[in-house]
Amino acid sequence: MASANEPVEGASAGEGPVEGASASEGPVVMMDYFMHLEYHEVVCPIVRRYAASLMAGKILGQYSPKSGLVYVPPRSFCPVSCEWLGEDHLIELEDRGVVTAFTIVTPVQYYGQEETEPFAKASVLLDGPGGMLSLQDILEIPPDEVRIGMRVEAVWLPEHERNTDEIGNRSWGSAAGAIVGWRPTGEPDLPAETFTEKVY
């Protein structure tokens, strides 16, 4: 056994550091590691139904009789009343509603960030049976004019341009590929105070 700090003589490729081009002379203080992971997840049945309804120009939700809550997109169960929800709990929702909360995001640059201009994301409470779509894009109005109580309606892509492949199991309230966003209807605003509780 060679003594601990002498490079081993003998047939090894050479003694001590091997000559050869090394990128830079100074000490190495950083190490890069490029993580790349791909996930291919089966779209669950209820999201498939939701995506299909969007292709047909309709927004499907699920109503929970026990809790009285409406979930959109539908989730197959109600986490509040802990009851499983099936076909007969599906309901068709309105494509009009009111902005209950919004955020004007000034995009911060990070790897993969494509946004450069401030954008508004809003929670839209749908008319009729209800249902709350979050993180929706507001169109045809500058971000700083978005306000609570504003009446909005969905802006659908033409049927032949719709493509809901992007809708996966975890796209919170996404209607990507069918609804481009929500535009003001021009109707008078509803009083903002009624929504301070429904900030969701």
Binding site: A4, V8, S12, G14, S22, E38, G112
Partner: protein, 148 residues
């Protein structure tokens, strides 16, 4: 099941890892074609070098780096028939625990032996450094000693 719609989702990020007083010199050594271990408080030479005693957690003298290798003995090995994109070689190769000359613990690394038949426990291997090196563990692979 085969025709069910699939949603694809990629997470990707270029992490930048700071190295500190032991890993910095260790990877600097690899860039310069030299493998280092570290002398533990009980006199053993640990490879890969750590800032602490792995058994007790007590701090080590971080400047006590010791050159080891480039040759060494295979303590155990596995033949990877189907390498993934994350593996260091794109053709079948061996992962091995290599007790480098001068070290008291084994380094896990890849052996580009060409075929499984070239591999055996107890064989000697030696480091084959890449020409272009940047200071990462993949700056080298091992080959059977006396190989090309």
């Amino acid at each position: 099941m085969a025709d069910l719609p699939i949603s694809t989702h990629v997470i990707e990020f270029p992490y930048t890892r700071t190295l500190g007083p032991v890993l910095g010199p260790f990877l600097t050594g690899l860039r310069d074609g030299q493998i280092y271990g570290i002398r533990s408080n009980d006199g053993r030479v640990l490879t890969p070098p750590t800032e602490w005693d792995p058994l007790t957690g007590e701090p080590l003298e971080t400047s006590a780096l010791v050159p080891v290798g480039p040759g060494g003995v295979v303590e155990t090995w596995a033949w990877v028939n189907h390498p993934t994109v994350k593996h260091p070689l794109d053709r079948p190769f061996a992962f091995a625990l290599i007790k480098l000359d001068g070290a008291d613990t084994a380094l896990m690394h890849a052996v580009d032996a060409g075929s499984m038949d070239a591999m055996s426990t107890g064989m000697r291997v030696t480091a084959r450094f890449k020409d272009e090196r940047i200071g990462v563990i993949t700056d080298l692979v091992f080959i059977p000693e006396g190989g090309e």
